[in-house]
Symmetry: C2
Subunit: 460 residues, 2 copies
């Protein structure tokens, strides 16, 4: 009988705990010992849910926790909370940990046979004067969410400035607006949501303005001003100053890979770990990585990209656990799908934006159509804009962006599957999509866009 | 210069007028003369919208008409309303017409170079005693809808019996219930919606019962009883009698192909015209057919099937028009997608049912999962049941059925595209679908079903 294997997991959120849980399903405690380290207070939580918790749609923080540390322990995973991994020693095959609740204790070393790195992401904090002032909040984990809610309750801020109008920035702006604050969003790009082409981002800006959120684009933040107590008082840009009692950073995240870098593991251009299809760190047979700390393969561009999303983290964790547990599974890659909601506006994208396609040297056509979410005569039919990119000559689908009301966002899944299958826009025009008046016009908006793209490709 | 071509179109609804309009876009009036004949009072209308008109969600009949006869004429199509085609003469390449508003006039012959047959469907009327009684309504076209609404207004019926619990039967039952009638639905099959497997149909029955619609399954209707004035008074089954002031037939439709049959054109097993991929009637270079009068190729089973749906009719018409106009387009086939709504319940299917897969000699696994339409913690998250069929050994996706609340039906599009692409359930588990808490749990319900199907395939 083989000796009992030791699996160590760094990170107690989606990727790490999915890996641990799946490995546990496949291997008994006699075969595999699983220990996981989490530096924070929570395990397996939904970071994506934080804006809705701040906004009040979700009232109980516990709802955002899919599985508590106790639940993990009951399933045979030795999850150690508030335990930070401070080093990975590949030669000796062990990691060093520190107990954050007992900082006087010595650090400890733990040996492993298999190691999962799921260290997640760090919110981007621009290097600005005043960035560490009281009242400047990131929103990456539940502790951040708690701190922000505490600040809202206790300090009753009146004016909020959100820096950055990506998904998190826009969702947080809406959440703060829900709570009655006066909200300004500052964005360096020409439109909010630079995950969309500017012509689609403009629709998002209109919706934000419609709900009373002030948007300032082309805004380069130069400093955060503080009052005499060291509290935030305003955010300055190159040409203006916006008074603020509260600042939220919505500038996205970067991979948290300092440990991996120090250990000499391979990192990509955006600083994320590089893995093979089985989610093994490249060149290391027994080191695995998944979630917000890795780069992923983009099936449309053929390149590696950094796409931190909970849904990828869960899938990758599942795949790691299967492989560690002796099964076989791969993560073939992503196509760049993302959906979001701002007030009643649904926003979705998949595949490449115009700028991305151009950067890859692709020649393409781009078409935009206006349609409705339901048959025009059916109550609740709402306008919906679909933009579609297709490669010249081949007609291969390159990307889709959708902005609309109810029923807009998940329509992007049609294009996500078509991209995965490598379909042309002509093939898409024949797709047998669900049609009934409450759900779609007789030509689904995605089909209308595909037809227009076919015509554009034919024009050459 | 070639002589001016003459295109004749039989049928002024979706397929026929899409064909005519597309041909007109591609060919000028100098090149192509287009004449269309429609027996009814309306052109290009949405039959699918009739239940919502009867139910009151759509108040103006005109909303159901996509394009009026006048609009077609303004675009250079000579559309003759209330004109019935009574014969097709293939040898002489002409059709005979009759003016329904002037029955005394002689019938006339019209020559063609190209002919489009888009004669649509006929509601199935069982050969029962009393079937022609006053108060028995079909709901195939706008005239039927008008007659039914008139009856509701003038006769104020209290008790309605709907015969047949397919899409139209169930939608009409709900519409009548909306109007406050006491509604009983009689269905011969063990569950309503025999377009679903019985275990999924059961969920539909529960929803119907929940909104106060009585459902009687396993009911074989034997006669329609009338009062002394010849008006309907009850519907009798093999073992009971259901009092009725109004009877609606929801038994589906069959292809209206008497003309084509008389002309010797090729018909399939279900009586629909057989065409090639370009929608040309097989063996006839200049005869085209599309819409509810044709059989379609089923990409999953490889067989011809009869699938009368407005969305196919529109696509096929578009393709005919392109080909007649000198372009090139094909209709590759369907995968059997259908969606519907009963009260708040959304119902969807694509691909094969268990019974259909068995009939084709396929061995398969069937899995069912319960999930939610949104992240569990997000307001409005509603339960949703997904059933998935996959081929044994290969893991090829065979079919998906979804029953749930908001956000259930259009999720079937994911599977429709995956079926078109010939994906396996394992490939589906990696699909990069849109995820955000307002739209999906972190594992989309379709992915959860795919994972369960993968495990079932692996067990063999």
């Amino acid at each position: 009988m083989p000796a009992k294997q030791r699996l160590l997991v760094i990170g107690g959120d989606a990727a790490g705990m999915s890996a641990a849980s799946q490995a546990r399903r496949l291997r008994s405690e006699d075969e595999l010992e699983i220990t996981a380290f989490e530096r924070g207070h929570f395990s397996s939580y939904s970071a994506c849910g934080i804006p809705y918790w701040v906004g009040g749609e979700v009232t109980d923080r516990r709802d955002l926790v899919a599985r508590t540390p106790q639940e993990h322990r009951h399933r045979g995973i030795d999850l150690r909370m508030r335990t930070e991994v401070t080093a990975i020693d590949l030669d000796r095959q062990c990691v060093r940990t520190r107990d954050l609740d007992a900082p006087d204790l010595d650090e400890r070393w733990h040996g492993f046979d298999q190691l999962v790195i799921a260290t997640g992401a760090v919110p981007r904090r621009p290097d600005l004067p005043g960035i560490d002032a009281e009242g400047v909040h990131g929103v990456q984990d539940l502790d951040d969410g708690s701190a922000l809610l505490d600040a809202l309750d206790k300090e009753r801020p009146r004016r909020a400035v959100v820096i950055g109008a990506g998904y998190i920035g826009v969702e947080m702006a809406e959440a703060l607006r829900h709570r009655g604050l006066d909200v300004t969003v500052l964005e360096a790009a020409p439109e909010p949501m630079s995950t969309l082409d500017p012509d689609m981002g403009r629709l998002v800006r209109a919706a934000m303005n419609g709900m009373g959120i002030r948007t300032v684009t082309g805004a380069r933040v130069t400093r955060i001003r503080t009052d005499d107590d060291g509290r935030v008082s305003a955010v300055a840009t190159q040409d203006a100053e916006y008074p603020a009692d509260l600042v939220v950073l919505g500038l996205g995240v970067r991979p948290r890979t300092e440990l991996a870098r120090a250990a000499g593991l391979p990192l990509g251009a955006s600083g994320g770990l590089l893995t093979d299809f089985a989610m093994r760190v490249r060149g290391h047979d027994n080191i695995w990585a998944g979630g917000d700390c890795v780069e992923v393969h983009d099936l449309v561009s053929g390149r590696e990209r950094y796409v931190p999303l909970g849904t990828h983290a869960n899938k990758q964790g599942q795949i790691i656990g299967t492989n560690v547990g002796g099964g076989y599974a791969v993560f073939p890659g992503v196509v760049g799908t993302a959906v979001s909601k701002v007030c009643e506006l649904e926003i979705a994208r998949t595949g490449l934006l115009e700028a991305q396609a151009r950067e890859l040297g692709l020649r393409f056509v781009a078409v935009t159509v206006e349609s409705t979410s339901r048959a025009g005569y059916y109550p609740g039919a709402a306008p919906l804009t679909v933009k579609m990119l297709a490669e010249r000559r081949t007609g291969r689908l390159l990307g889709v962006q959708i902005v609309g009301r109810e029923g807009a966002a998940k329509r992007v899944d049609i294009a996500a599957v078509a991209l995965t299958a490598g379909m042309t826009v002509e093939q898409m025009t024949a797709l047998d999509l669900g049609y009934a008046p409450p759900f779609s016009p007789v030509w689904d908006p995605v089909l209308v866009a595909a037809r227009k793209a076919v015509a554009a490709v034919a024009r050459g």
